[in-house]
Symmetry: C2
Subunit: 276 residues, 2 copies
């Protein structure tokens, strides 16, 4: 059947190719019945490299029996022209959008090759790296010393998704996220330590279903009390009670990706990282 | 001057908005002389929310004295139509590309709202979370137990960029990256431990300039021998000598972003994570 045959998709860029890939994945996700083979071709910044891509595109077309799809972010017109010698469906980001932007802004774009050129020295980039280091230093409640510096403090039971979410917030948005695990001691007191509650407006909770939590914990400590479904259920109930009592908003992480959780948190905590 | 006045850019999506932002940042980076104010509007999946965006776009136009730019990934045609009531330059990902893809693939797209819908259950997503946990467990040489499971092992002196790079490889690509710090003991022996060298084909080195390394280390341990420029220079020279001797390819991290370093490593280590 046409729907289930394999088609090759190339992500071609003169930079890292991450924009092309992000774009491409979003588009291809709209065609779940198709099977795609992904080929990444970053740093295509010369005619030689473009010709090499042309060879790969033609080989894929022969192998698949259908022409490939090329999602690209290419700035150099000569490289673009060289690439187009192969037969493919070309979806190029710059070609499509740079023209309208140039008219709108009343100026020519720089046509700078490589999206991340020079980005390592930018303030935005430095704040992202700083936020990653912050997340690592403030993971799992290991230090409450600099919580005042944090943009958000994630709370939740062990293995509810706090660490990957705080790393994603740092990496994608430069947001400094600490995290604090809710443990049986907190439940017994039914209140949070003062050095956490003094930052109440930064607190955001993650919760999870007992079944999923037990499954995740089983992978780490099989057949432990820690991983037992009953224990997970009790911890989650106690955590939700505590978060409600303390007025901490929380989100269910079971069926949400860290991207989705992070976007929700940013929206609700209203962190303003929008100028760079 | 036209070039230096502020213009508001909206990233509007029915999902997390991360694709729209990534796309938008790449495009706007081509206009370094312009100043943009970024407004993120994720989860715009109803007419009410679209109308709220329209109000925000109009307010921004009044404040800036020029119409905003809207970069969007919207699937629902009614939401798109509602949004277009405001005057702005609209750059919509789906509108532009879904049509050509539908013709090419000979099928309709699902028009599924929210890019990450259901992604949390996908194999790809699970492997990314697993890779993040792997990177955290194998950070800074803290465990060599499961190095055989790794896709890549980063080596380099302390603070050369191994940890953020391994986390980025995990988060973006689902690549399992361990890292091993090169320490004075390794330099004295002028060889690496056997449990590292047995995975020689996975080793990839990061290096950095002595000046930058000293600066980064100063922030952590001011006025220490660890941070002294002379000591940094010696460690880096010894590390590069060792990497050359062991035949480990390495890359300069000083002026490169973790995105760029990761893309280079993937390209050279030829990890095949290209089917999902």
């Amino acid at each position: 059947m046409e729907e289930h045959s394999l088609r090759t998709v190339f992500f071609i860029s003169d930079g890292t190719g991450i924009t092309a890939e992000t774009l491409g994945h979003s588009l291809l996700a709209q065609f779940p019945d198709c099977r795609f083979r992904h080929v990444r071709a970053p740093f295509v910044d010369s005619l030689d490299k473009a010709h090499d891509c042309v060879r790969q595109i033609r080989a894929a077309a022969l192998r698949d029996g259908r022409r490939p799809i090329v999602v690209s972010t290419l700035v150099n017109a000569e490289v673009v022209a060289a690439l187009r010698e192969a037969d493919a469906l070309y979806l190029d980001l710059f070609e499509q959008y740079i023209g309208p932007l140039e008219s709108e802004l009343g100026m020519r774009s720089t046509h700078t090759v490589g999206r991340f050129h020079g980005i390592a020295e930018s303030e935005d980039y430095k704040s992202r790296i700083e936020a990653i280091n912050f997340a690592l230093a403030h993971d799992d409640g290991q230090s409450n010393a600099k919580l005042a510096e944090s943009d958000v403090i994630l709370v939740g039971v062990s293995r509810s998704g706090k660490t990957p979410t705080s790393l994603y917030l740092a990496m994608q948005f430069g947001v400094k996220a600490a995290n604090y695990p809710l443990i049986p001691e907190d439940f017994e007191r039914n209140k949070l330590p003062a050095d956490i509650t003094q930052h109440r407006n930064k607190l955001y909770g993650l919760t999870i279903t007992p079944e999923r939590l037990s499954q995740i914990r089983q992978e780490r400590r099989p057949n432990s009390k820690y991983a037992a479904l009953d224990n997970c259920r009790q911890e989650i109930e106690a955590a939700q009670r505590l978060m409600r009592r303390e007025g901490i908003p929380f989100i269910e992480s079971t069926t949400r990706s860290i991207e989705e959780i992070s976007a929700k948190i940013l929206q609700e905590v209203r962190i303003n990282h929008s100028t760079y």
